[in-house]
């Protein structure tokens, strides 16, 4: 069983049952279907960050770089008025993102600790301004996606991405695949060594492991998953712009994952839902929603030592 904790199994069972049924209740409310789709996509992004920060020990404040890259690569690589195959291009884009992450990783992993936070921030700011100041990539307005890709596999076509409900299920599938992939990686021999590099880098190195290589591979994995989330987000809204890459985007994802419970992976889903839910609630309650949002974040840091997942575990584990 890759889901070791009871809390984790209960939460995920409840989550997936509800998530699968949501479109049945919201069939005629496309706004909510769209909103929940965005939450699912963000959950993929936040899980990939949680993997890097909580499990590999790489605190990055530049994760949104790859989120934006996923969107930009799609627009740049695909013809403007022709529907391409989603699966082929998703793999293609993730491959290129992985290569970029490899190069970025070789640079940023030369530093550690607080300097790692800052150099990842600097690289994503650089990319942000690169797209912001460039005319060929649409500057501040970004680029538009005119044709949604088609999703046939071997001639079979289950999903129509123009249909919000279908898009929702594609995003939910993304959550499932990301969750399982990260969990499988963490359970593997590779994952165990990666966690060892976080817990005790000196000892792991003394055992003969090249910790730089393990960190680099993990960085590539996390970044590639983020690019997939960014691709989905760009497709959902039909555009990509530099706002995808802001440090606020990276920061918000970090807030979601810490709120959920750092390193728990399923906590990232919980944190994303809670954050987005609270924001939606406060936004509709008052114009000054940020005051309440900030207050809620501060309260949760003070009261919950290990995030929401930690609180759930205290309730459910014996």
């Amino acid at each position: 069983m890759i889901f070791e904790k009871r809390t984790e199994r209960i939460f995920l069972a409840v989550f997936f049952v509800i998530a699968l049924c949501i479109p049945l209740f919201l069939e005629d409310n496309s706004f909510f279907v769209g909103k929940t789709t965005t939450v699912m996509i963000l959950a993929v992004f936040v899980m990939s960050l949680d993997f890097l920060v909580g499990r590999v020990g790489l605190v990055t404040l530049g994760h949104a770089l790859f989120y934006g890259l996923g969107g930009y690569l799609f627009v740049i690589l695909t013809p403007e008025y022709e529907a391409v195959n989603f699966w082929i291009y998703a793999i293609y884009i993730m491959g290129i993102s992985a290569l970029i992450a490899l190069v970025v990783g070789i640079v940023v992993l030369r530093t550690s600790g607080i300097y790692f936070i800052m150099i990842t921030l600097a690289i994503s700011q650089m990319a942000y301004y690169f797209f912001f100041d460039s005319l060929e990539f649409g500057g501040n307005d970004g680029l538009f996606i005119f044709m949604k890709p088609e999703t046939s596999i071997f001639g079979l076509n289950f999903l129509n991405l123009d249909n919000p409900t279908h898009f929702y299920y594609l995003s939910l599938l993304g959550v499932l695949i990301t969750l399982v992939a990260i969990k499988v990686i963490l359970r593997s021999r590779f994952g165990r060594i990666v966690e060892a590099t976080r817990l005790n880098p000196e000892r792991t190195e003394a055992l003969g492991y090249n910790i730089f290589a393990f960190r680099l591979i993990s960085y590539v994995i996390g970044s590639t998953l983020a690019a997939y989330a960014g691709l989905l987000f760009a497709l959902q809204y039909g555009y990509v712009n530099p706002q995808f890459m802001t440090w606020e985007m990276s920061g918000t994802a970090l807030v979601m994952s810490i709120l959920g419970g750092m390193g728990t992976i399923y906590g990232a889903i919980l944190g994303t839902i809670t954050y987005e839910g609270l924001q939606y609630f406060f936004e509709h309650m008052t114009e000054d929603w940020m005051l309440f949002m900030g207050g809620a974040i501060i309260l949760m840091v003070l009261l919950l030592r290990k995030g929401l997942a930690g609180y759930l575990e205290k309730l459910l584990e014996k």
Binding site: V107, T111, M118, D133, G251, V255, I297
Partner: protein
Amino acid sequence: MSTELFFVQLINGLQYGLLLFLIASGLTLVFGVMGILNLAHGSMYMVGAYLVWYFVAVTGSFTVSAILSAVIALGLGILIERVLIQRLYNRNHLDQVLLTIGMIFVFNSLQSILWGNDPYGVAVPEALSGSVPFTDNSSYPVYRIFAAMVCIAIATALYFIVSKTRLGMLIRAGESNREMVEALGVNIKSLYTIVFAIGVMLAAISGIIAAPMSSIVPGMGESVLITCFVVVVIGGMGSIKGAFVGALLVGVISTFAAVLMPTMSNMIIYIFMILVLLVKPQGLFAK
């Protein structure tokens, strides 16, 4: 570029760099002594600017407003440290990041509730409103020279306090070994409160000084925060001397970049920072 333009830009860059140093000094001081990365540091800069704008509108005197704002900022710093930061000393660094992000939300919201989202400006105080002739056909505003002087004065005072006074000795001791300082009977808790409050006040003073030179707008704190990160990282986190050198470098480089290569000017300081970290992964003045 003519020699004249070169010198004007150089002075602009140095003046901007000095202001950056003033903002960054508080950030690096708090990080160096307390190990806290205060993401809400930029918000304190914003608070300073808005406070001085508000008091100038009420009292009409820039000097009175500046002093009032700085004192309020000091009180705010003590309050924040006592009520919030103090609870997180034994916690994970990420919890501190989360807390200070929450504070950014609160301060931005308070700014919009109290003062709205219109941009404001503070008039340059009359005594400093002239400009000095620079060459035959160019001149330099007196206020900018004054601002640079204030920054230099505060930098000198900071250097003196840290290296020559008892408080400075405790600060340096706290940086290198917190437990030992505590064991020697120093109340490290109040030391931390003082350091954090000084950090907040330095950010606010920068906002006060910058107010007559720039427009006071929502979000001004965040943009300055990121530039400050670049400054302290180039200099070496926690090093005040490093922040000084880093700030002047960033000030001059970004000013010249804006003139020489406008399309790339925003990226230049980040490229510079990455290059510095590749050569010196802990910044120029790493401890």
